[in-house]
């Protein structure tokens, strides 16, 4: 029997109260109290989480992407440098950072420089509110979900800045395409995410995770938790599609479209800036996966293994899914993309809201 939703929250936080679990843990471990302790704990916690995410991105970019693409294409990729080829990450880092930073003459300077900073850091900012299990949760405001979406959308600004400031027609086209795409798919994304709110009644991320821990049904002794993906798979599929469009992956990789506009908004960036944008793309994919995991897949929940491990597994699964889509799905044309976004996905996400209301009513 499904338990009514308004009941207890389990695990980490007290529902309805903003908190900063990780910061508190660190401050407590260091023995520093008061405001100084909070600030120190927050800074150290942010440092820790950012490093963890960057390490995962560094593994995902040079190494995992090549290995996965090779698996799809019947090849053996990076296996020479280091065990399983993992030292290729070091080699790539050295190679990319040692390149000359060429700035085109007519580039709009402050915007040109700020854009590659905006893209990865907006994603890292979003990670601040994601609950990763085992107390690793940097900040838990009452409006956590809104913050996550807002932080992720700052990247659109970065994209259009990169596109316009490069003084290059290809970049301009790429920037315009990306802003059109992001606008079109932001709304279905947020709406579908908002349908989760109907289910949980709270915007606080820990509350959302907590609401998904109850049992949905018991099939032959195996307890199926109330993950929102199981409750409303339609919303899950819509959210995944909108997420693909937000991070700019096939079939929606038009802003980058290498075979049409030669790298789109990234065309004029080299060396450090390119590394920032490249990593930024991966961090956005992981952020998208993290939000999807939190909203739909119960966050850091799972049997046996600690929560953090499950969380990592889930965001890597999302990454694998984007790579899989990249190998097999063609990209849509820009006018078809806009059509799908405004006419198809928008309508479907509104329908999804109604559907969710019905499901919640049934469950309650």
């Amino acid at each position: 029997m499904p338990v009514p939703l308004q009941a207890n929250a389990t695990a980490n936080a007290t529902a309805g109260q903003p908190s900063a679990p990780l910061a508190d843990t660190i401050a407590g471990a260091l023995g520093v109290g008061g405001l100084g302790g909070d600030v120190l704990g927050a800074l150290l916690g942010a440092f820790l989480i950012a490093n963890v995410m960057l390490v995962m991105t560094a593994v995902a970019g040079p190494w995992a992407k090549r290995k996965i693409t090779a698996a799809f294409t019947d090849r053996i990729a990076v296996n020479r440098v280091g065990p399983f080829g993992l030292l290729i990450i070091v080699a790539d880092a050295v190679r990319l950072l040692s390149k000359e930073l060429i700035i085109p003459d007519g580039a709009d300077r402050p915007a040109f420089d700020i854009a590659p900073i905006l893209i990865p850091f907006s994603a890292l900012l979003g990670f601040a509110v994601i609950p990763m299990g085992n107390g690793i949760h940097l900040a838990d405001p009452e409006t956590g979900l809104v913050f996550a979406f807002a932080a992720a959308s700052i990247a659109s600004l970065g994209l259009v800045m990169a596109g316009y400031a490069s003084n290059n027609k290809y970049s301009l086209l790429g920037g315009l395409r990306s802003i059109a795409q992001n606008l079109a798919y932001e709304i279905p994304l947020v709406l579908t995410g908002a349908s989760v709110i109907l289910f949980t009644g709270t915007l606080q991320m820990s509350g959302i995770v907590a609401a998904q821990t109850e049992t949905l049904i018991n099939i032959g002794g195996i307890r199926i938790p109330q993950w929102f993906a199981f409750v409303n798979p339609f919303a899950f599929v819509l959210f995944m599609l909108a997420n693909l469009a937000e991070v700019g992956r096939n079939p929606f990789d038009i802003p980058e479209a290498p075979t049409e506009i030669v790298a789109g908004y990234q065309t004029e960036y080299g060396s450090v800036y390119f590394v920032l944008i490249y990593l930024g793309e991966f961090i956005h994919i992981f952020l998208g996966g993290a939000i999807a995991a939190t909203l739909f897949l119960g966050g850091p929940a799972g049997p046996i293994l600690p929560g953090f491990v499950w969380f990592v597994i889930k965001i890597w699964a999302f990454f694998l899914f984007t790579q899989w889509a990249r190998s097999a799905i063609p990209r849509v044309r820009i006018d078809q993309l806009i059509e799908i976004g405004w006419k198809g996905m928008l309508v479907l996400s509104f329908a999804n809201l109604v559907l969710t209301a019905v499901i919640v009513g049934v469950l309650a």
């Binding site: 698996a71 799809f72 019947d74 053996i76 296996n79 097999a328």
Partner: protein
């Protein structure tokens, strides 16, 4: 939607079946067919300095220098300029120049690729395969004059 999903299933099948089409060169030497046209090998004992190879080369890659008594002095072949068409081997009446299967050769500058007759003599056989043996059946197929056995020793 179905077409999309079928496409994705196809690529996932390739990923999961674990077989690869590539080989790990240079740990694994690639399969080279016996007729493969690689670097030339020149035999000064057999060459009769008829200059047919120089004549037929489409690229002017072979340069032969003879003294005024028509003795052969230099035989230079630019293996970087050569297009490996094998016409020189084809017109040579005595099999003095032939193309081995060797495709691995390096140099520091393009000029180092001009091989004189010493260097051409020293070109190694690829995996010790003698290409003449693989050409042997073909020699007999030449314009109906090929029934007899040609003995070069």
């Amino acid at each position: 939607m179905i077409g999309l999903l079928k496409g994705m299933a196809t690529t996932m099948k390739h990923a999961l079946d674990g077989s690869t089409f590539t080989v790990e060169y240079p740990d694994v030497a690639p399969e080279v067919s016996p007729r493969f046209r690689g670097v030339h090998k020149f035999s000064q004992e057999r060459c009769i300095w008829c200059r047919q190879c120089e004549n037929v080369c489409p690229n002017d890659t072979i340069q032969i220098v003879q003294d005024d008594q028509r003795n052969g002095e230099q035989y230079n072949l630019h293996i970087g300029q050569c297009i490996y068409c094998r016409l020189c081997e084809e017109v040579c009446p005595v099999d003095a120049i032939l193309l081995t299967q060797n495709f691995e050769f390096t140099a520091d500058t393009k000029d180092d690729f001009v091989y004189n007759k010493e260097q051409l003599k020293n070109v190694p056989w690829y995996k010790d395969i003698d290409p003449l043996a693989s050409r042997e059946p073909d020699r007999g197929a030449w314009i109906g004059e090929g029934e007899g056995e040609v003995d070069y020793q």
